[in-house]
């Protein structure tokens, strides 16, 4: 009876799933290599074609978020596809709480996107000669946008894992969902590349609210799509 109704520690489940994904990725390096390769190739092409973007804060912000958006699609597409292809998804369904699977996978995705951003964003700033006026605000905006994209991308990845042409579908389905976060990030980034945020903190607050809503929505709704 004691065994039957054992209630596992939810946080330990989250960590076990994230740890498993980090270990798998460390061994195969598939997601890191493809995502980084995409980001670096896109960056190189952009910097070769447009040269310096000093004095063009809106265009620079737009190009940065186009690169981050598509790098995110490349990264998130594999999270559940890999599980479905290897028939390991049912192992998680049988042994873990759906919300723990969501958060564990989301943590992995967030770290992966964070790694890509840590490499791609400084390179973008250096190659395109952009100056960042409020580094703290810029970094917070990127973190909040990545949290949003990791949370929403994790849910979409689970929904589309068994669908054909899933990467193309992920990009199409992700865009409207990511749009509010992308629009707010774009505004904040353009401001930090230009005159600064001054007193207009609305886009940053909107980004914060959307990141929180995405995370909470993912935790609550994941069971329905898993």
């Amino acid at each position: 009876m004691k065994t039957a109704l054992r209630r596992p520690n939810w946080l330990k489940q989250v960590w076990a799933i994230a740890k498993k994904d980090f270990l798998s990725e460390w061994r195969t390096r598939h997601a890191v290599v493809t995502t980084l390769a995409f980001a670096l190739i896109a960056l190189t092409v952009v910097s070769l074609s447009v040269g310096s973007l000093r004095g063009e804060p809106t265009l620079a912000a737009g190009l940065l978020w186009v690169i981050i958006f598509f790098a995110t699609i490349v990264a998130l597409g594999r999270t559940f596809t890999k599980e479905a292809d290897a028939h390991t998804d049912n192992l998680l369904r049988l042994n873990a709480e759906p919300s723990a699977v969501f958060l564990g996978k989301m943590l992995f995705n967030l770290v992966l996107l964070g790694l890509v951003a840590m490499l791609a964003v400084p390179l973008f700033v250096a190659l395109l000669g952009v100056s960042v006026r409020q580094l703290g605000v810029f970094v917070v905006a990127i973190i909040l946008a990545l949290v949003t994209m990791a949370a929403l991308g994790t849910i979409l990845g689970a929904m589309l894992a068994k669908v054909q042409s899933r990467i193309a579908l992920l990009a199409v389905a992700a865009f409207p969902l990511f749009f509010p976060a992308l629009a707010a990030s774009l505004q904040v980034t353009a401001m930090t590349f230009g005159a600064g945020l001054e007193s207009n903190m609305t886009p940053l607050k909107a980004l914060f609210a959307y990141a929180g809503a995405s995370l909470l929505g993912g935790l609550l709704l994941f069971e329905e799509v898993w």
Binding site: T3, A4, K12, K19, A86, T88, L91, L94, N95, A96
Partner: protein, 205 residues
């Protein structure tokens, strides 16, 4: 006291019914063997009982002392060996076992005990991608049992095993029946004796 109750269970894919009006009760301490030709729905029935798919009609209730359990409570009760429930190939046997132990909050000492029990101690640091199908089945058995589930669901548990492996499965089933329920889907008539009850799916039903 664990009991599985299924009432008027049916599963259809599109307009084709795989099976309909299945009713049975499996009390604690007994085994159920599901028999039938390929494509008759044996694995699907196991997946329904695990909660991996939903029935088209009917009800599945896992209960303890007469009280029905919620899906999240059922999860910790079950251990399953299914064809579409594979270990991670890029992890070692030990890492796969530790993952399941962590997910169920089980002491990691059990990992080594179970690897020894299924005869995989020597291969515990070997990647699953290097395993033979028989070794993989042994690992899947250990992964299904490491959290000491009350109900064990097995799909073709002896299909890829040698005589020694068949003996191991036989012992594990006998042990499991003493503490809970065993449900086996099989084509092999030698496995019929594992259950006090048999269900026939397909034309022979």
């Amino acid at each position: 006291m664990l009991t599985l109750r299924c009432t008027d269970l049916g599963k259809a894919f599109g307009r084709r019914w795989l099976f309909r009006r299945l009713s049975f009760t499996v009390p604690q301490g007994t085994g159920l063997v599901i028999l039938g030709p390929n494509g008759s729905g044996k694995t699907t029935l196991l997946r329904l009982l695990c909660g991996l798919v939903q029935p088209t009609e009917g009800r599945i209730v896992w209960e303890i002392n007469g009280f029905g359990l919620r899906p999240n409570q059922v999860r910790s009760l079950l251990g399953a060996v299914l064809p579409d429930c594979e270990p991670y190939e890029e992890l070692t046997a030990e890492e796969n076992m530790e993952l399941i132990a962590d997910l169920h909050g089980v002491n990691k000492n059990s990992v080594n005990d179970w690897l020894e029990r299924v005869g995989l101690t020597h291969a515990r640091r070997q990647f699953v991608s290097e395993f033979s199908s028989g070794m993989k089945l042994r690992l899947k058995l250990a992964m299904a049992l490491v959290h000491e589930p009350m109900a064990l669901l097995l799909d073709e548990p002896t299909a890829m095993l040698d005589e020694q492996g068949r003996q191991l499965v036989s012992e594990l089933i006998a042990e499991q029946k003493r503490k809970g329920i065993v449900i086996i889907a099989t084509n092999d008539e030698r496995d019929v004796g594992y259950g006090e009850q048999q269900i026939f799916l397909g034309k022979n039903r």
